[in-house]
């Protein structure tokens, strides 16, 4: 479904991605793990066209989407929930969700999806007329995920959804992601510093280090990999 091939990205003189290649199949749950500055966020941002690739190719459903404008990539069904949630604090919860459906025209379906998101996150329904900025961190993360779901993503990319959340909420967020993936069949590409949770959920996973992929395998394989255990899971072998 998504094929990233030999992606190179520079920030000014800094070579941020040095030939990233990865693959996401339909219905898959893929995690990218790695330390701060490894290039995980940059990979996601390049896929959705917020950052331009100098070299390499991004392919979605067989079509080249490299360096296309973000709104075009989004309308193909690739949605990114950015790091730090980035909900619109001046819009109501409901407006935030409706903006997520901006690319869609089917009014009845949008209304139905709004109810589905409210079922998934009842707190959002309670607060639908409140400004997004008044929500707690956890609720904002729910809103960010709900907002992305309103766009009916074929591929949902999430950048650090657990960042800054209390442990109980982290668990809830990951459960929701699992549900979206298993029940609705939405393909998920997850970037996480919380490597244990990310690998546990993942069918397929990649480990990034300073702009390169250094390891790949199924989530289970990587969870027991001694290198990964030592570097990212804090287990000394």
């Amino acid at each position: 479904m998504l094929k990233v091939d030999n992606l190179h990205v520079y920030y000014g003189g800094i070579h941020a991605l040095k030939g990233i290649s990865l693959k996401v199949d339909r219905g898959d749950f893929v995690s990218l793990v790695g330390a701060n500055g490894a290039g995980k966020s940059t990979t996601l941002r390049t896929i959705v066209g917020l950052v331009k690739a100098k070299e390499g190719r991004v392919e979605f459903e067989g079509e080249d989407i490299t360096n296309k404008p973000t709104h075009e990539i989004v309308s193909r069904g690739v949605l990114l929930t950015p790091e730090g949630r980035r909900i619109f604090p001046n819009l109501t919860v409901r407006e935030n969700l409706m903006l997520g459906a901006y690319i869609r025209k089917d009014k009845a379906d949008i209304a139905a999806d709004l109810e589905k998101v409210y079922d998934l996150f009842p707190r959002l329904k309670e607060r639908q007329n409140q400004k997004g900025g008044t929500l707690s961190g956890g609720e904002q993360q729910m809103l960010a995920i709900g907002r992305a779901l309103m766009g009916r993503p074929k591929l949902l990319a999430l950048d650090e959804p657990s960042l800054g959340l209390a442990p109980l909420l982290v668990k809830e967020v990951f459960e929701v992601l699992k549900e979206i993936n298993e029940r609705d069949g939405t393909t998920i590409l997850l970037v996480e510093q919380n490597a244990y949770a990310a690998l546990k959920l993942a069918k397929q996973a990649y480990v990034l280090e300073t702009g390169r992929i250094v390891l790949e395998g199924t989530g289970e394989e990587l969870l027991v990999n001694p290198q990964v255990r030592q570097a990212y899971l804090g287990v000394s072998s």
């Binding site: 959705v48 917020l50 404008p69 973000t70 709104h71 989004v74 309308s75 949605l79 990114l80 950015p82 980035r86 909900i87 619109f88 604090p89 001046n90 819009l91 407006e95 409706m98 903006l99 997520g100 901006y102 690319i103 907002r147 766009g151």
Partner: protein, 297 residues
């Protein structure tokens, strides 16, 4: 001062203030999205007045048609300026954009002087505006009545667009977070273009009404109204649309009242307005309704 004169002056101030509000909204909307003071905005107001002049005085179109045409054409001018002068600089430092805006203002003003001539032209005031009213013995000029009414209609339309339509929702989102709005699949370039179109269209409406109030138009007519409307936007809290409306009214009423109460100081009427600007920037730079500045993290 008799009550009659006071009321006349108050209405006069409100109608002048309405015009400042209409222009101020263009400043504040563009600032809200791009953090750019569009110094050419006063000149767009002038272009509006000239387009109406040509439509009515030269091509003899009926006023209702001329007004619609003027708003549409001026909106196109605003979009053109954005496309040609500002969009290529969007990712450059803010200061480049600001200097470009000053350049665009001088360019339009001088282009107008060369092509249209510096000599003022008499504006064909619509009959509706020229008719005076007698209400309980008070004589009130048509302009003082119609300008606030038309302004309210336009502002109601604007608020409807901003708060009740999809594109308005996108505008509010872009004003807070351009990148996150892109991630919603919104074509941000298009939203910015519409913002310029709306601001310029309102300035055109303001230009036509201004020229009905002071029926002489000339290429530099946009400068002072533009700066005063900018002051209004700052007073109201730049970036805040409701603030711009209130700021415009305050500036208009203060300007007229200083002249009415202190006729000997009437030569200082512009100075009073800009003194307000300086005081606000010193004491309350976020304006009446602006949000406190937050450090971007």
């Amino acid at each position: 001062m008799s009550i009659e004169i006071f009321i006349q002056q108050l209405l006069n101030g409100i109608s002048l203030g309405s015009l400042y509000s209409l222009i101020a909204i263009g400043y504040t909307m563009v600032y809200g999205i791009l953090a750019l003071i569009n110094f050419a905005h006063g000149d767009i107001f002038m272009i509006g007045a000239y387009i109406a002049f040509f439509a009515v005085a030269i091509y003899a179109l009926p006023w209702w048609l001329a007004a619609i045409l003027t708003i549409i054409l001026t909106a196109c001018v605003g979009m053109l300026i954005e496309r040609v002068a500002y969009r290529p600089l969007r990712d450059e430092p803010r200061i480049s954009l600001l200097i470009t805006a000053v350049g665009v203002a001088f360019f339009i003003e001088n282009l107008a002087i060369v092509t249209l001539g510096a000599r003022p032209k008499g504006f064909p005031v619509p009959a509706m505006m020229a008719t005076n009213f007698d209400i309980y013995g008070f004589r009130i000029s048509g302009v003082s009545i119609w300008v606030p009414i038309l302004t309210i209609c336009l502002l109601a339309g604007l608020l409807y667009i901003i708060y009740r339509t999809k594109i308005g929702m996108a505008m509010r989102a872009v004003a807070k977070d351009i990148e996150a709005t892109r991630l919603m699949g919104v074509n941000v370039d298009r939203v910015i273009m519409y913002t310029f179109a709306i601001g310029s269209g309102l300035a055109a409406a303001g230009g036509m009404m201004w020229a009905s109030k002071y029926p002489q138009i000339q290429p530099l007519m946009g400068m002072y109204p533009g700066w005063k409307a900018f002051t209004a936007a700052v007073v109201g809290g730049i970036g805040n649309i409701t603030g711009a409306m209130i700021g415009g009214l305050i500036i208009g009423v203060v300007e007229i009242m200083t002249v009415a109460f202190f006729p000997t100081l009437s030569g200082f009427r512009d100075a009073f307005v800009f003194a307000i600007l300086i005081i606000f920037l010193l004491v309350k730079p976020t304006g009446l309704m602006g949000e406190p500045l937050k450090e971007k993290v």
